[in-house]
């Protein structure tokens, strides 16, 4: 879709996230990870979006012709479709959206675990400094 401002915004999020995960304060690292995961999700979705394309939802029962030859045949031991010819469709890419949808949910799980981990670390050692933890460890 060729939007340079969006690309720039995503890049800035990446930069800020990177800076944060290099910190010593464990809470900052977790915030950094969240920022990074937002950035990654946006990056993946944005490359599948082209201006003038629709939301990937069919309006009625239909077979969308994509002028693609599928040969996923078990007899010929082809377990993935072979794609020849790519007629543009009217939709943005649904596959990247499906991937990111999974990623969003997983990142919730990750965030929950590490924030509780940080909380427990603070309870056990009375600090949120990673450097100090390392000294405690060995």
């Amino acid at each position: 879709m060729n939007n340079t401002v969006l690309s720039f915004t995503i890049a800035v999020l990446f930069g800020i996230g990177t800076f944060l995960i290099l910190r010593r304060d464990i809470v900052r690292v977790i915030i950094g990870l969240s920022v990074l995961s937002h950035a990654v999700n946006l990056l993946i979705v944005s490359v599948g979006v082209f201006s003038g394309k629709d939301v990937p939802i069919l309006t009625h029962d239909e077979v969308v012709p994509t002028n693609t030859i599928f040969s996923d045949s078990l007899q010929n031991s082809v377990l993935a479709p072979l794609l020849n010819g790519t007629e543009p469709t009217q939709f943005v890419d649904p596959l990247v959206q499906a991937l990111v949808l999974t990623a969003i949910v997983i990142s919730l799980a990750t965030t929950a675990v590490i924030i509780i981990l940080a909380y427990r670390i603070h309870e056990e050692y009375g600090t949120t400094d990673i450097q100090k933890l390392k000294r405690l460890w060995g």
Binding site: D25, S34, T59, V92, D93, V96
Partner: protein
């Protein structure tokens, strides 16, 4: 009974009843061995009941679907070859399990011993009746695992552990090569079904003409050679002798080591008749036969001597299977099959004798044994029969099959022409000479000569009937097959050879067949064998001194180096890769990412300036602006709480952006997830007082900012290029989902259809991750009580 049911019962009864062994042991105590023998007997009878089915070279196949989408079935194939192996496995199984009743002390962990023996027997039967390469592979690896457990039966002996590990590493790795070979074969033929290939002449032609023929052959042969201890893979077998002796007799002489032979015979119709087959199979066979026969001389442990002799005898069989390329194929195959059967009888017999000697004399060291013929007369007679059969002395069965080996070697020499007319028979005789010499040594060292003054128990006698009868029975078979070969030949060898050759075979094996070339070779073998035997000790001494002088000319040396060094190398590797601080890993990853992305994009980036697009609607611009503000806020706000609120503002802005990016599902999910994670964040954060504040020095700031800016720039360049089509667009998988969403899954929302239908397993995985995360959080909170 229906053959399919018979086979299935024969294979799976041992598996099922092995599970019952500990319970039964509670009832009948140390008599558990007889229970195991009884199971073996049932399997034996089931296998025997199948003999009429194949006696004239017919075969039987039946299958049940297992993984139909992959063409994998639970499929059995009964022919002469599988019946021969089935009889050897179950027959020797009965003998071994009965014998174990006398051999294994009452204090041993008997349930474990018999359990693994039964599991082994079941796996082995499953392997020989498998019609499907995948099924064959599974049972094949099961035999490796059960063998590992049995070799390592005495867990606290380091030698046992070493031997068990070695055998597992070599044979299981060989099995993986075999699997790769099966997959190559499948890519050529399009089927995992072995009989389907065997019965299709044109398919075999296709395989032999295919460019992957050699790859398939070599991979499968590596599997066979590793299991049958051929070529460089022989090293595991001598160390496997740390197993209890009945196990050695069963697994490492009569059955498991013949699995490789079985595989070679099974794929014989597919690969044989080619030059590569001859060079690979016979070449490996001849070299192994000579080297292993020669190396047997320096062994002072009687079981190690037998192990080397097993390697050498198996090599005979391999060699004969390889011969078929250049001669009337029936001869080699029949001879090989006959020798296979004979070897199972005389070698198992000798191992049982070795077990008796070790049990009674408490040593297996030939330098400490001798002169036991008076004290153990019955054992002496049995041992002599076994050893003479191995040496190829008439009228025992070993003589017959060795004659056949010589005969086919002569023919082989003729077929290849000068100078092989002489060389091949000469090599065969050399193998026979070594065999003769160490067979005599086996008898002489234990029973002949003088009894050593010290080191042996004062009272040595023949063992109980439990141990002597199995050995005597095998000795009886040796004589029977020698005097009346037609019993074995007509009922077992002919059907087997027919099934290997895929056509009916008729053999005439007689004890006396005139003064032929092979008989002359046998006589030469005896004369030279006696000559070599007189120099036996000096040859052994020379081998020892050679080994001391050049310890590195040895495959064991390489193995030990590889395995022991592997531990050290991996230790260094992991301590280098995991130094401790997380920051180190992050830095390494980021730098790697920058390099990997930057290199290709630096080449492409020329000209992207012209295609930049700053046409942004004002409201979009506002969204972008606030996103950056929120992210900066999350980074710089000094207190946790405002930072977290800023972060959640960023999350909601992202969901707003998703709407703009034509992704309504994502927007919805993002709103929900953001709400939840903000709640979790806030719940936790209010409990963490902000005591620590990192002091960021200018140099640290410069370094981290530099990394952050590099990452951002790389991402920026990547995105600008990616969204402009400068990178050649590759074919997108998405078209498939767009077109099939309605006809295949009946859904309108394509993203949802992908998640719940096409990629349903991913979603299942995702749900598992959520569950694990929930469990993890619960346990983290729960563990608080324990630490105090």
């Amino acid at each position: 009974m229906d053959p399919f049911i018979s086979v299935t019962l024969a294979v799976f009864l041992p598996f099922l009843l092995a599970l019952a062994v500990p319970a039964v042991e509670k009832l009948i105590k140390h008599r558990i061995g007889w229970f195991a023998s009884f199971i073996a007997l049932i399997s034996f009878l089931l296998v025997i009941s199948l003999v009429p089915l194949v006696i004239h070279g017919e075969h039987f196949q039946a299958s049940v679907e297992w993984i139909p989408s992959m063409g994998i079935e639970y499929s059995i194939y009964v022919d002469g070859l599988s019946i021969l192996f089935g009889i050897i496995i179950t027959g020797i199984g009965i003998i071994i399990m009965s014998y174990s009743n006398g051999y294994m002390g009452l204090k041993e962990d008997l349930p474990r011993y018999y359990q693994w023996l039964l599991l082994f027997m079941g796996s082995m039967l499953g392997m020989v009746f498998a019609a499907n390469t995948i099924m064959l592979f599974i049972f094949w690896e099961l035999t490796s695992i059960t063998s590992f457990m049995l070799i390592g039966y005495w867990r606290n002996k380091p030698e046992s552990v070493y031997g068990a590990t070695k055998s597992l590493l070599v044979t299981a790795a060989g099995g993986l090569f075999m699997l790769a070979g099966f997959i190559v074969l499948r890519s050529i033929t399009g089927t995992f079904d072995i009989p389907a290939i065997l019965q299709n002449e044109t398919l075999i032609q296709t395989v032999q003409g295919h460019k992957l023929f050699l790859a398939a052959l070599i991979l499968i042969f590596i599997g066979a050679a590793s299991k049958s201890a051929q070529g460089p893979f022989y090293i595991w077998l001598p160390n496997a002798m740390e197993a209890p002796t009945p196990v050695s007799a069963f697994l490492h002489s009569a059955t498991m080591v013949k699995a490789g032979i079985y595989l070679v015979a099974r794929v014989h119709p597919i690969f044989s008749g080619t030059e590569a087959w001859f060079i690979l199979v016979s070449g490996t066979g001849i070299i192994t036969m000579l080297v292993a026969g020669f190396l047997a001389f320096r062994q002072i442990d009687i079981k190690a001597l037998l192990a080397y002799s097993t390697i050498s005898q198996l090599a005979y069989i391999m060699t004969m299977y390889g011969y078929t390329t250049y001669q009337e194929p029936g001869i080699g195959v029949a001879a090989a099959t006959f020798h296979l059967l004979n070897h199972a009888t005389f070698k198992a017999c000798l191992f049982l004798v070795a077990g008796i000697v070790a049990h009674e004399a408490a040593t297996r060291d030939i330098t400490r044994l001798g002169g036991l013929r008076h004290e153990m007369p019955i054992t002496f007679i049995i041992a002599t029969i076994g050893a003479l059969s191995m040496a190829g002395v008439p009228p025992l069965n070993g003589f017959l099959s060795k004659e056949m080996f010589y005969e086919s070697s002569i023919e082989m020499g003729h077929a290849l022409g000068s100078p092989f007319t002489f060389i091949i028979p000469a090599l065969a005789v050399a193998g026979g000479v070594f065999t003769f010499a160490y067979s005599i040594k086996f008898i002489a060292a234990i029973f002949l000569g003088k009894r050593p003054e010290k080191g042996l128990p004062s009272h040595i006698h023949d063992p109980s009937f439990v141990m002597i009868i199995p050995a005597a029975f095998l000795a009886g078979l040796i004589i029977l097959f020698g005097l009346v070969p037609s019993i074995a030949v007509q009922n077992l060898v002919e059907p087997t050879a027919s099934s290997i050759m895929m056509e009916a075979q008729h053999l005439h094996v007689k004890l006396w067949h005139g003064l032929t070339g092979s008989l002359v070779m046998t006589l030469i073998t005896f004369l030279l064998g006696i000559a070599v035997y007189t120099r036996y000790d000096s040859i052994a001494e020379w081998q020892n001194s050679f080994n001391r002088k050049y310890p590195f000319i040895s495959i064991n040396y390489i193995y030990d180096g590889l395995v022991n060094n592997a531990k050290g190398t991996l230790k260094r590797f992991s301590s280098f890769m995991q130094p401790g601080p997380v920051k180190g890993y992050v830095l390494a990853l980021l730098v790697l990412m920058i390099i990997l992305f930057a290199i290709p994009f630096l080449k492409l980036s020329t000209g992207f300036i012209q295609t930049l697009n700053f046409n942004v609607e004002p409201y979009e611009f506002l969204v972008f602006f606030f996103m950056i503000v929120a992210a900066v806020g999350a980074a710089v706000l000094p207190k946790y709480l405002p930072a977290v609120i800023s972060l959640s503002a960023l999350g909601y802005l992202v969901s707003l952006l998703f709407i703009y990016l034509s992704a309504p599902d994502l927007a919805l999910t993002q709103v929900l997830v953001e709400t939840l994670s903000t709640i979790i964040f806030l719940l936790a954060i209010v409990k963490i007082p902000q005591t620590f504040k990192e002091h960021i020095t200018p140099s640290l700031f410069t370094r981290d900012a530099l990394i952050a800016v590099s990452v951002a720039s790389v991402v920026f360049i990547l995105l600008v290029n990616a969204t402009q089509g400068i990178i050649p667009p590759f074919e997108s998988l998405s078209y498939y989902f767009i077109e099939k969403a309605w006809p295949l899954a009946g859904g309108h929302n394509i993203v949802n259809v992908i998640i719940v239908d096409f990629r349903g397993y991913d979603t299942l995985g995702e749900i598992s991750v959520m569950c694990l995360a929930a469990l993890g959080v619960y346990n983290l909170i729960h563990s608080r009580g324990e630490s105090e």
